[in-house]
Amino acid sequence: MTDAPAVGQSTARSDARSKVTGEARYAFDHAVPDMLFGAVVRSTRPHATIEEIEKDQALAIEGVAGVVTAQDLGDLFPRFGHLIADHPILAIDKVNYMGEPVALVLGETIHAASDGADAVVVRYSDLPVMADMETALAEGATLIHPATYPKGDSAFEEAITEPRDDNVAHEASLEWGDVDAALADAAVVVETTVKYPKLYAYAMEPYNALSTVNEEGLEVITTAQHPFMVRDDLARIFSIPLSKVRVRSPLLGGGYGSKSYTKVEPLASVGSWYSGRPVKVALSAE
């Protein structure tokens, strides 16, 4: 160690050398023997009930090892989510958005898995689309989430334990002091409505997870910014103690918050639970 102060001089990054030689290993770079690849069949409808999922054509493809749907999850807890556990691992009876995972196809190669995903046939029955806030909040709007949900991570207090008759997910009010008096006395009162655009923070490393589920527990290598929250979700899905869930987050290929919270770890994990083999799910930019 040097006696020179750290402040006021440049210090080389400890990981810089491995990153310029290609030795740096991200979750994306991990592979294990006997691993299957998972490809996701996604909803082509914004809001619909699932009438039928046909697996046969996919299963007939050489190299396809299995097709997993919500119907195959048995006694597993089928959802995840840190505030409210309202996010199905695989769509349960209905899809709530375009791109929602409907089935996971397992293949000996990524090509077999993606061919299989293309071959799965899903029949939908469309429901009214609530694509903007005004439509979703209108009187008599179709409920997007008709179910009740337990609360998510114990650090949060959110839960929807009573069925709601509207599409309001959450209401919050922030105030302190005598607001009415302050408004009455104010020289100027500014009121505004703020709308957030659809935003996505693209990290160069795609979402990916490599999960191994066996009688010893669950180990997942994942590109996650919040591994402890991922651990909570996985422990609940499999009803196993936190000590049986190991979440490894190696070097992160960018995140910017988009890799906060649980993403594809449940998919890879139910794939492994279903097949008895390690499963890697790496999403493409599509």
């Binding site: 810089a16 310029v20 030689t21 030795e23 990290a203 490393e205 290929g253």
Partner: protein, 162 residues
């Protein structure tokens, strides 16, 4: 359904000769990563937009996600793992460290490969030359400036008398 044909290829990758049997649809990036274990080459967009999969094939940069391994027969391939000479980093690799041109590092291999190809073709590039040559590579962390500085610094050192 007929079984896919398999193709034998004999590329030289980072100075090492390989003989491999690949399916026709296997990409260069998949071949390097999954067959040879050279995971320094990344993939991200997989539609030839982001540049993280760049490798040098017979002296020219190629998007590894959009080129087929079957076309590598007899070709010479250089990946990020082939840029150093033993333990000695290339000028560009060293410059990347010194200018803090890496953050998350996932795009770094692609930038290093493209920068290496640029310096081979144009040893004294202007700042504009560097920006133009690297415009096919996306970095979401650094804001690009330190990467451009690294290429210019490497060019300066390569031109200096040894």
């Amino acid at each position: 359904m007929t079984a896919e044909t398999s193709i034998e290829i004999r590329p030289v990758v980072n100075g090492m000769s390989h003989t491999s049997i690949v399916k026709p649809r296997v990409t260069v990036a998949e071949y390097l990563r999954d067959y040879l274990g050279l995971t320094g080459t990344k993939t991200s967009c997989e539609v030839e937009v982001c540049g993280v999969c760049s490798v040098i094939v017979d002296g020219l940069p190629v998007s590894g996600c959009a080129a087929l391994a079957a076309d590598l027969d007899g070709k010479t391939v250089t990946t990020v793992e082939g840029l150093a000479t033993g333990d000695t980093l290339s000028h560009l690799q060293q410059a990347f460290i010194e200018t803090f041109a890496t953050q998350c590092g996932f795009c770094t291999p692609g930038f290093l490969v493209m920068g290496t190809a640029l310096l081979a073709a144009n040893p004294q590039p202007s700042r504009d030359d560097v920006m133009e040559y690297l415009e096919g590579n996306i970095c979401r962390c650094t804001g690009y400036r330190p990467i451009i500085e690294a290429v210019l610094l490497a060019a300066e050192r390569m031109a200096a008398p040894q």
